[in-house]
């Protein structure tokens, strides 16, 4: 299949769908819901086709906006905006489209009692659009625009229920932190432009390898600071624990499952591997030219990762609010992903580094499914019982058996139990971190111990003696149940073929991310 021909539809369909939503809403409620499902379903279809096409021929798809070639007329450098999708980007695209589609289907039942739903569906599709854009872009200017589209939509969605103080307070905190982070990133982009005069990622990579200056280092520090803010790494994770529980549950699933990864970790990986490259660092160092030490950068990320995975998982244990517990658990899992990324950078070129990177990519995908499942279940509980305080949810297994069973699958997967998908990805991260440095392996295992404690506590509550409050509860209606079932089945099926997926998809994705030369030559080509 021709991936280049279908790539633009990944942006066109959600963009058209989002802004035609208010008009379609005029017809009526049914039309609006059908339109939202059709648009996100069509996006999922395009995303699957794109993923298959990239995976099949292991190439990089380059799409130039407004011309056949990214290069300018008569000049040998790119002047146009390019989109560039390698296998890593394609995995992110698939993940975003899948979870967003399920979140939209879930919203049909979950948001039924809210008002202003035309705005809600517009914003949820704009949020999806922003994330898809970040995953496919090959230009820093374009990246900033999509990052802001994503961020603004998520600020608005966190504060969507503006009749509650909780949503407003969380929205304000999220917005201030997010805007400062965006400003850091914009300042970094400005410095890079001032130094090198281009914003196309692949050409910037060439320029950077030729002349790594202090300005580029300052810009890198600003990027890392901004993107760690956005991904919710410790010590700046406080906004996440407020914002993710306050949003409606379908949005929490997207925020925790997708936004912190695509807008944080994916962008960081793209910057560190495709623009500032450990490959150029090794080569320049070997020949005695000035270089940017990516080894140090890798270790800095590893230190943040260790802090994040210990603090996030430990804070999850002491929460009494179910969604807050899940949010802190997200912080902890981001720690694992960052650990894999950091080791991939510090041990670049070795097999360990590649395995760590594959583990990080694998865990990103897995965690998106698991955390989306768990937040959707939390939403079901809130919908049925009107509370998310764990002390009041005792004995839920009696009256909501399907929901509890799905929660059991999600919790077991996130802890890393063998027959489920979390096992393989966590194993790759443990294995590589233990080979790289045994202390890091030990820290990763301690984090999992806290994680297990947190989820066992929830399950203990669910299987406990039924309280009076839960006796009235029942399993939810079909539109809320099906997304949960699909996610649970996906987790089990992915868990049955862990090493096949790792060999066929995740390791090639890690290789594609590491192969900076292919990324550059895909755009610059014959130049």
């Amino acid at each position: 299949m021709n991936g280049e021909a279908i790539l633009p539809y990944l942006i066109i369909i959600p963009l058209f769908g989002a802004f035609s939503m208010p008009i379609v809403s005029l017809i009526g409620r049914k039309a609006r819901e059908a339109w939202a499902v059709i648009i996100s379903g069509a996006t999922l279809a395009v995303a699957s086709a794109l993923f298959y096409s990239v995976w099949e021929d292991r190439g990089i798809i380059v799409y130039t906006l407004g011309a056949k070639s990214p290069l300018g007329q008569g000049v040998s450098f790119p002047i146009r905006i390019v989109w560039e999708v390698d296998l890593f980007g394609a995995i992110m695209v698939l993940m975003v489209a899948l979870v967003s589609f399920l979140a939209v289907v879930y919203s049909l039942g979950y948001m039924k009692h809210d008002t202003g739903l035309d705005k809600y569906y517009t914003l949820i599709i704009v949020l999806e659009l922003g994330m898809l854009g970040i995953a496919i872009t090959g230009d820093l200017f374009n990246f900033y625009v999509f990052l802001e589209i994503m961020s603004i939509a998520s600020y608005a969605l966190v504060a969507f229920r503006n009749d509650t103080w909780e949503g407003i307070e969380a929205g304000i905190k999220y917005m201030f932190v997010g805007s400062i982070a965006s400003s850091f990133i914009l300042l970094g982009i400005a410095l890079l432009y001032g130094q090198y005069g281009t914003l196309t990622m692949s050409y910037l990579a060439v320029k950077l390898a030729q002349n790594p200056t202090v300005t580029a280092k300052v810009a890198l520090a600003l990027f890392i600071a901004g993107l760690l803010f956005k991904s919710g790494a410790s010590p700046v994770h406080m906004w996440l624990a407020d914002a993710h529980p306050a949003a409606p549950s379908s949005i929490s699933a997207m925020l925790s499952g997708l936004v912190i990864k695509v807008g944080g970790v994916y962008a960081l990986a793209r910057l560190l591997f495709s623009i500032y490259s450990p490959l150029a660092y090794k080569a320049l160092r070997a020949y005695g030219y000035p270089y940017i030490n990516m080894n140090t950068v890798g270790w800095a990320i590893i230190i943040f990762a260790c802090l994040t995975l210990i603090i996030g998982n430990a804070m999850a244990v002491i929460q009494t609010d179910m969604k807050r517990l899940l949010a802190y658990s997200s912080v902890g899992q981001i720690g694992y992903i960052l650990l894999g990324l950091g080791i991939g950078l510090a041990a670049y070129g070795s097999h360990t580094g590649e395995v760590a990177l594959a583990g990080a990519i694998y865990h990103t995908f897995n965690h998106a499914l698991m955390k989306a499942l768990l937040f959707l279940i939390a939403g079901v509980v809130i919908h049925e019982l009107g509370t998310r305080d764990l002390n009041e949810l005792s004995g839920l297994a009696k009256t909501m058996p399907k929901t509890t069973f799905a929660f059991l699958i999600g919790a077991a997967a996130i802890i890393g139990m063998p027959p489920l998908n979390g096992f393989a990805s966590k194993w790759l991260i443990y294995e590589s971190s233990a080979i790289f440095n045994p202390i890091l392996g030990a820290i990763a295992i301690i984090g999992t111990a806290f994680c297990t404690a947190a989820y066992v506590r929830v399950l203990y509550t669910f299987f406990g003696r039924p309280s009076e409050r839960v006796m009235k509860a029942k399993d939810p209606e079909a539109s809320m149940l099906w997304p949960i079932i699909i996610l649970a089945v996906a987790i089990v099926i992915m868990g049955l073929f862990p090493w096949q997926i790792s060999e066929k998809v995740m390791l090639p994705a890690a290789k594609a991310l590491e192969d900076q030369l292919a990324y550059i030559s895909a755009v610059l080509g014959g130049a």
């Binding site: 603004i152 407003i168 307070e169 400003s183 982009i189 400005a190 001032g194 609010d321």
Partner: protein
């Protein structure tokens, strides 16, 4: 020649960050965000406007550029700044809307009052 625009941009960014950290009123915080953004915009525009060989660059209008004697400024930072201004307006209006809602719920604009979420 001292390039005052870079100093101004730097001062604006530092001033904004100072205000963001030191002030407690929500509206002042929003202003601080806007000042930081303005500083970055000024920096970007100044980076595009380079005086080389004492030739003052003109606006990047490509129609009839063959007859032009002097160089043009870089069009890319201008496009980026225009986009960024639009994004800034979005964030600003959303921030004001949230601030109005916060005032309804809390009865104050003091950011220290927004501390009910904890744990």
């Amino acid at each position: 020649m001292i390039q005052f625009q870079f100093i101004t941009a730097f001062l604006l960014i530092v001033l904004g960050i100072y205000a963001f950290l030191a002030k407690r009123n929500l509206i002042k915080l929003i202003l601080a965000l806007d000042i930081i953004d303005s500083g970055i915009h000024l920096l970007l525009i100044s980076l595009g406007y380079r005086i080389e060989l004492n030739e003052v660059p003109t606006a990047p209008i490509y129609t009839g550029y063959e007859t032009l004697k002097s160089p043009m400024v870089g069009p890319l930072p201008q496009a980026l700044v225009l986009t960024s201004i639009v994004i800034g307006v979005c964030v600003l209006s959303l921030a004001m809307a949230l601030t109005i809602n916060a005032y309804r719920h809390y009865g104050t604009l003091d950011v220290r009052a927004l501390r009910r979420l904890r744990g």
